[in-house]
Symmetry: C2
């Protein structure tokens, strides 16, 4: 630290897991931050405690903030409204009509704020979103102090924020212009899926994403009915259909990927497509079990997502990790698949790679952005500790997170979110829930 | 309340879910306790606030304490020690040798105390246990103030607490004598499984359980290898084998029940056998998915358990409910199976029925025992609320529990466990983990 600038913030008296790998674990160490970056990370005690802000870690654990690689933040306002229903009924009698009737700038703003509050409280520091009015999600994320990749939603039919696809594309272009230099926001495109976007529209989205150098987020092969519909309409499975359209590329973030065959998985791997696994949503909607171990075996980069609150119903990536680790074991009757380190990688460095941000986030290292969470280990369910990675995946919940730092700023301190007014957000959620309930 | 005695404890300013059914939900009400029982439960405000103790519920939710219908409490000391391993290796190279070498009265006492602390902190008020030295588990549960059904473990081979099965039976009889009139403890027998107990030993256990009028806890058809082993050895599947031995009866608590065929399920239903579902353990050990919807359709009473911490790795029944609801949906590709109310029933009234205690616990009603938990709903992940049952199953974790009352006593207040010294327990857990790590 002698040769580096004085830190603004020192975290000491913590154990540190800088990466998803137990070999990198530091039982007692300290971290120094300057502005938005890490400038020190070492075992032992810091050489001094001179900094504007000091955090005593109380022998907790400092680790990279989690990355929610696929969600629909504003849908937090639908949390628990329609469960245990047949998929078609859920979508066509509940979600779609309510979205058509109610989703506007205000809905998205308050829903996204609620989601940000929840995500911060459970240790997520970056999220990738896909919905409408993404500029309002950006506004919410900036207010919350969260890092976000925001995909402006595009579909063939009229949406809450665009009467037709042409205007949706114009809207998306404006959004990408406006946020191209944002500190926390990375704009992106979110053509919903192959069964809701025409081949032409998908091609336009691909071109636009390339022009702006942004990620292209899409739902891919989520359900058996999507597989059937796309296969019938285009004579090709969803993965092959996207391949034919030239969309399989390293900027494509393919979410769900439940119904892929071997050849499609080879294609995804070959083209460097990124995949996001959403096990709890896939379970709750009975979509199926994504062949994640097979994708990982091919070297595909996989991140972890919660999906929206209408199909989960929370945004806690710690619980999502537990489910991801266990689901594949029982589905394959093999307890060795999806070990804890692999799952933790998905929720940290894997997610960062999915978003093309692995140079900046996803692990703790000097020079990288300071997105750090500190967990309280002083609780019965954390005792004893043999392997901290095991506990993070199989034992922890988001409620164990005590402090959250994003981009060098303390966002949550002792479980108090400093950037948001939770009472105001809860009131707004209640008002919106009354409208949803009546819809 | 005019005609009833003055309450010792009044809980007011709470919503109340007295049963697993949303139709019974009381948006604003109060509860009065006298000694160990509920003497008042009504909508609105209490007629007065004269009682020794008053709890302001802060608009939280009061509900029955959860019932963990199958665990091995002391195995909390193995939490996270051996994950992601092939089942045989896990059992034969890790768990069995460590148990043989280390499990003694002290191990069981401290492990059970740690488990009690964790269970209380996540809203469990009753647990059913099966292990060795159950008198030490009883001591721990009594100190913690928890209600427990404790099954003294019995196997063909030498165990940590008995050199042979005959002495194990003697030990169990003594245990049942000593705790037959306990306030919080119900003694029980736990013949481990059909592949670890001879037919004679199982028959003896059945007789002994009948003589003492106690539950008989057993692992039934947990793994495919158990199915194969028992079928090969006795020419009958595990369910039929127990039937032949006359053990299928209403006091039998059959845990796991993964590998049952249709006829065995009919048998279990006909004989009134109780079943405990342990989805997270079955997932993590890759045992398989139990046919719970088929058992429920036959009218079999099903409770929910976490199993031990060596195969979960926590004791949080809220997370277990979430998993139970989702696992069967994806396994059957049907989002309507295992709806939230059914799952909440398993963790409350279903568990009470499994333990033969439904007249006393499992729901909140005047005259029943006062086992009550109060949740804090003032958190982002609880907003908005359309249906409290949905949130309890799909959104909550044990960390949402604020107060715990068992048998009329306040056991946890504002997340502080009043009966246990967590620091002392954590220290003991650390000492034991060092021994386990070296074993």
């Amino acid at each position: 630290m002698n040769k580096t600038p004085h830190p603004d913030l020192i975290i000491y008296n913590v154990s540190i897991l800088p990466t998803p790998f137990i070999k990198d674990f530091i039982p007692h160490g300290w971290i120094g931050l300057k502005n938005d970056r890490l400038i020190g990370l070492s075992p032992g005690d810091p050489p001094h405690l001179e900094a504007e802000q000091i955090i005593d870690g109380h022998e907790g654990l400092a680790m990279p903030g989690l990355i929610n690689a696929h969600t629909h933040a504003a849908m937090s306002l639908f949390r628990g409204w329609a469960d245990d229903l047949p998929l078609e009924k859920w979508l066509k009698e509940y979600i779609f009509p309510a979205e058509k009737k109610l989703v506007n700038e205000d809905f998205v703003y308050w829903g996204a704020l609620l989601a940000c509050a929840e995500m911060i409280a459970c240790g997520t520091t970056t999220f990738a979103d896909g919905y409408f009015f993404e500029e309002k999600v950006a506004q919410a994320a900036e207010l919350a102090g969260m890092r976000a990749v925001l995909g402006q939603g595009i579909l063939d039919f009229p949406t809450p924020d665009a009467p037709n696809p042409a205007l949706a594309l114009t809207r998306a272009a404006r959004f990408m212009e406006n946020f191209r230099n944002s500190k926390l926001i990375t704009p992106a495109l979110f053509p919903h899926a192959s069964y809701t976007c025409s081949p032409d529209l998908l091609r336009c989205c691909g071109d636009l994403a390339e022009r702006y150098g942004v990620p292209l987020i899409i739902h891919l092969a989520e359900t058996k009915s999507e597989l059937a519909e796309v296969s019938k309409k285009y004579g090709l499975t969803p993965g092959r259909h996207l391949h034919k359209l030239g969309l399989l590329a390293s900027n494509l973030i393919a979410c769900h990927c439940v119904w892929l065959d071997e050849e499609e998985m080879d294609l995804l791997a070959e083209k460097g497509v990124k995949v996001v696994h959403n096990p709890e949503s896939n379970m709750k909607l009975a979509s199926g079990v994504a062949p994640i171990p097979d994708l990982l075996a091919r070297g595909v980069v996989v991140g972890l997502g919660t999906d929206g609150c209408a199909s989960n119903n929370n945004l806690d990536l710690f619980q999502e990790m537990d489910t991801a680790a266990k689901l594949h074991k029982v589905f394959r009757l093999d307890p060795t698949v999806m070990p804890a380190e692999v799952v933790l990688h998905m929720a940290t460095l894997g997610g960062a790679k999915v978003l093309g941000m692995e140079e900046e986030i996803g692990s703790l290292a000097v020079g990288k952005k300071a997105d750090i969470i500190i967990l309280d280990l002083n609780r019965p369910h954390w005792q004893p500790i043999y392997n901290i990675v095991s506990h993070l995946v199989y034992t922890a919940t988001g409620a164990d997170v005590r402090h959250v730092i994003i981009n060098g700023q303390i966002i949550m301190k002792d479980r108090q979110i400093l950037t948001l007014d939770i009472e105001e957000i809860s009131k707004a959620a209640k008002i919106w829930s009354n409208r949803v309930g009546r819809s």
